[in-house]
Each structure stands twice: as C-alpha cells, then as structure tokens.
C-alpha cells in the first residue's frame, strides 16, 4: 500500500518529475523553435525546484547568524541554483537570439519547413 502521508511529503519531488517530463516532451515533440525553448525552460525550472526542495529543512528558517535561530535550511543548494538560474537565463536569451536570426534568414521558425529548405539547398549543391 502506498502511504498517503509519504506521497504528500514528497509532493515537491512529484512536481519536479512532472515538470521535467513535460518540458522534455515539449523539446522533443514540438516543431516550433520558440516552443522548444519554452520546453527547455520548463525542463530547467524543474531542476531549480529540485535543488530548492532538497535544501529545505522542515520548520527551518533562513540561515541568519543569530543566537535566536537554531533550525535553518541548507543555504548551499539555494545559492547553487542562483548560478544555474543565471545560466538558464543566458541560454534562453541566446536561443531566442538565434531564433530571431533563423527567422530573418529562413522566413520561418517551423523545424519541418526549415529542414525542407535545407534539403533543397543540398540537392542544388550536389
């Protein structure tokens, strides 16, 4: 039997897995280059949630150096994920910039149309 309480306690991790798979599926299944980036962002966000969840201590507060504070969450994963968020933002920005340039040189951002254009070019070249 699945313990319902356990299931509730792990709710963050369930959310992480669901977000991860949703994002991953969008990256693979979508042919629109912008939607792929959306999927990639969701995929990355799931990892942010994962790191933040693992640092949380039940009942713990922010780790401030004060004699009154005894129980606090682990700040390290939270700090790490700030870095990963920055990397994620940079990746999204770069991907968007590439899509803008792809659109201006191909006139489309649908993957199948771009592939058709590229195939034609290769046929001409041969």
């Amino acid at each position: 039997m699945i313990d319902f309480q356990d299931l509730l306690n792990l709710v963050n991790y369930w959310v992480v897995i669901i977000l991860m798979m949703v994002g991953f599926y969008i990256v693979i299944a979508q042919g629109n280059l912008i939607k792929k980036i959306v999927g990639l962002s969701i995929f990355q966000v799931s990892v942010f949630v994962f790191y933040i969840s693992m640092g949380k201590v039940t009942g713990g507060t922010a780790p401030i150096l004060d004699s009154k504070i005894e129980l606090y969450s682990n700040p390290l994963p939270h700090v790490l994920i700030l870095t990963a968020i920055v990397v994620g933002v940079a990746t999204t920005a770069l991907a968007m910039a590439l899509v803008v340039r792809i659109h201006s040189s191909y006139g489309t951002i649908e993957e199948d149309e771009i592939q058709a254009i590229e195939h034609e070019e290769e046929d001409v070249a041969c």
Binding site: V27, K36, V47, L80, A84, V87, A95, R101, S105
Partner: protein, 493 residues
Amino acid sequence: MLTSDPWLILLIVVPLMSAPVCVLIRNATAAWVVAMAVSWAVFAVSLKLLFKVLAQGEVIYRIGGWDAPWGIEYKLDILGAFVLIIVATVGAVVMPYAKKSVESEVPKERIYLFYTMLLLCLTGLLGIAVTGDAFNLFVFLEISSLSSYVLISLGRDRRALTAAYRYLIMGTIGATFYIIGVGLMYQMTGSLNIADLSTIMPAVADTRTVLAAMAFLTVGISLKLALFPLHTWLPNAYTFSPSVVTVFLAATATKVSLYILLRIFFTIFGEVDLFSTFPIQPILMSMALAAMFLASLSAIWQENIKRMMAYSSIAQIGYMVLGVALATESGLAGGIIHMFNHALIKGTAFMAIGAIIYSTGAVTLQDLEGIGKRMPLLMAAFIVAGLGLIGVPLTAGFISKWQLVTATLEADMWPLAALILLSSLFAVIYVWRIFEVAYLRQPAIGHKATKPLPLSMLIPTWALALASVYFGTHATFTIDLAHMAARQLMGGL
C-alpha cells in the same frame, strides 16, 4: 599540506578578464593581439604547471583561502595537466592561424566579438581541467558551451544558425542532466568537492539515488561528448562553423568532455566497484563500436570534406571511449593518449581544410580536383593527418591504436582488437577518396584563381602536422604521461 599555487587561478582569471577587454577595445586587430598574447601566456603557464605536477603529484589552489570541501578548490593532477596542455597547445597554435582565416570568413564589425567568444570558450575548457568542484565544473562547462554556440552561429552559411540552435538544445539538455546528477549526489553525500565525493561515495553507493545520479551524469556528458547515438548535433556544427572554430572545437571540446567522463567513472566513483555492479562496460563498448563503424561508414559517403572529417571525429571518439570502457590501466592510457594524438591529427586536418577554403572557397570533393598540384605544401600536411587517422606507423595515430590494441589483448578481448583494425580500413577508404581527388585527377579548366596562402596559416598547420609525426616517432614522453595519468586514476599512485 600543499600550499596554494596562484598560477592555477591566474590561468583562469586572465583569459576570463581579457574577454570583456576585447569587447571594450572594439577593434579587430587589437582584439586579435590580446587573444594571441593571452593564449600564448596560457600555454606557457600550462607547461610550467605540467612540470610542477610531474614533480610533486598535484597542484592546488584554495579559492578565498577556504579549505576543501567547504571552499572551491582548484586541483590539478596528471590527467588534468595533460588535458590542460591539449587545450592550451591548440589555443596557442590556432591563434596565429585565426587572423587571416577569421578576416575572410567573419564580417569585419564582428571580429572583436569573435575573439571575445573564443577567449571565453578557452576559459571554460581550461576551467574544466583545473577545477576540483563538481558544480564549478558545470559553470565552466556552460561557459564553454554557450560561447561555442555563438561561435558556430557566426559561420557564413545560414545553416550555421540551425546547427548552433540544435547544438544549443542538445547541449543544454546534457548540461541539465549533469546538474541533476550532481544534485542527486549532493543529496546523498552533502558534498560537491570531487575528492571528497570519492571518499564518501562507497558508503552510499548501493542506494538507488546514487545509481540514478550516475546514469544522469553519464548520459549528460555523453551528449556533450557526441558519443554515438547522441552525436547528431556534431556533423552540422562542425561543417558550417567558421574554420577556426571547427579546428578549435574539434581538437579540444570533445576531449574535455571525455575528461569529465573519466573523472566521473574513476575519481568520483573511483572507490566503488562500478564496472562490476553496473553494466557500464557492455553499454559503453557497444556505443563505442557503433561509433567506430557507423560514423566511419557515414564519413565514406560524404561529399563535403569538412563533414567527412566531422564524422571521422565521431568515430575517433569511439576509439577513446573504447579505451575507457576497458577500465584497465593500459585501456585508459590508450584512451588518454588518443585524446592528445587525435587533437594534433584533427587539428591539422581541419586547419588544412580551413586553408583550402581560404584560398579557393572549395569544400566539396568535386571542387578539390587536382588541389594537390595547386597547393602541394598544404595538401601534404593534410595527407600526414589522413595517415594519422588511419593509424599508419610513424604517425601519432599509430601510437594510439597500438596502445588500444595492446590493451584489448591484455584484457583478453581479441575480437575487439580485430574490430579496431577492421574499422581502420574504413579510414583508409575515406582518406583515399580525398587523396585520389587531390592528386590523381586533373584540375578542371576554368577554376577560379587561388588566393595565395599566407604563411601565418601554413606554418601552424605544418607545426601540428610535424608534431603528430614527432609524437608518432618519439612517443615515450606521451605514453609515460598517459600511463601515469591512468595509474593515478585507477588509484595506484
């Protein structure tokens, strides 16, 4: 306890800070001068560090004076120093070559940005080799990856854009898998320091979390490594990027990814008997063999020589991974030495192709008819590289293959030795195709006049070609180094 060596941090900080300097000066030639000075300084420091590592085993630097495992520690052992020297050598040789090639392939107003990105990419790759912290490694991995996406997108053909986009998607999935793996390991061990992880790991190795972490790390890095069947981003990325970028990435980026894989298997999980509890060996071996055969076969059918060499790179990655999969000292040494030798060989090949593009604009076999008579010196260098790819004696490629074949025989896996030799025959075929077109056919009448090749491009090409012959005939130093690195990885030193 070892004292901090400040050269280790300067090696990273100097190229990192010189990148924004290039943006500020906004001048193509000045940016090149900065990049040139930095890459040669990096080369000199790397050599110095290599000899220091050989003398005392390892070199460390504690950032901010914090002791490991609390602070981030930079730590260079023999394997790290070996990878560092590969990256630094290629960086130093490619810079003088870059000037003319970049001028002819990248719009003038973007050249200073090109060098900015090249320096950032160099920083990231050097950083991966020196860092002793698993999360810091992720940051460097993304510095080098993000800058290489930009570099690839600077190619003249518009297909460079889609190639960069595909690489970005695949690369980001790979890097994200890597941080998932690091996160899972942190959950179980509470540590990010690679040396610390390796001491804690045996206690938690049986948990499913750690196994999941290992799987995520392996798949993530295999994506970056372009291990078959996760290689699909590579051929287009190498084919359509500017020549200099192809040379630089082909000779360094995949090697550095292989280094990360070695670190995961043999340092982080070094104390765990990973290969007997988990079927890594058959998985890696079948991927490696598939890469060796299928990628070589694809290479044979290519009309574009840049793409042909890109497929050949995927096949060569197969040889390196095969050495790693043997998980014996001589197998690892074979993989490690092939990292270095392949960097020299593929560097030469792509530099020669870049020079052909510079003077004739040709990349397809058809356009290369009789090129051996028009550019004899350059094509001779290319043929040296081609012989290296096949593994002909007296070239560096022979040393790698010899080492790999010996390792498979030592491990009692003689069918693998036969397969290595058999797959080399495919290399004979695609190198022969180029040779035949270049030397045995008459140049078509009405060819465009060739631009004279500047010495700044010919000399670096020949420098790498001669180096690959030198290390094919005087291999003691590299073989010893690879064996020492392998021994250190296997925990015997």
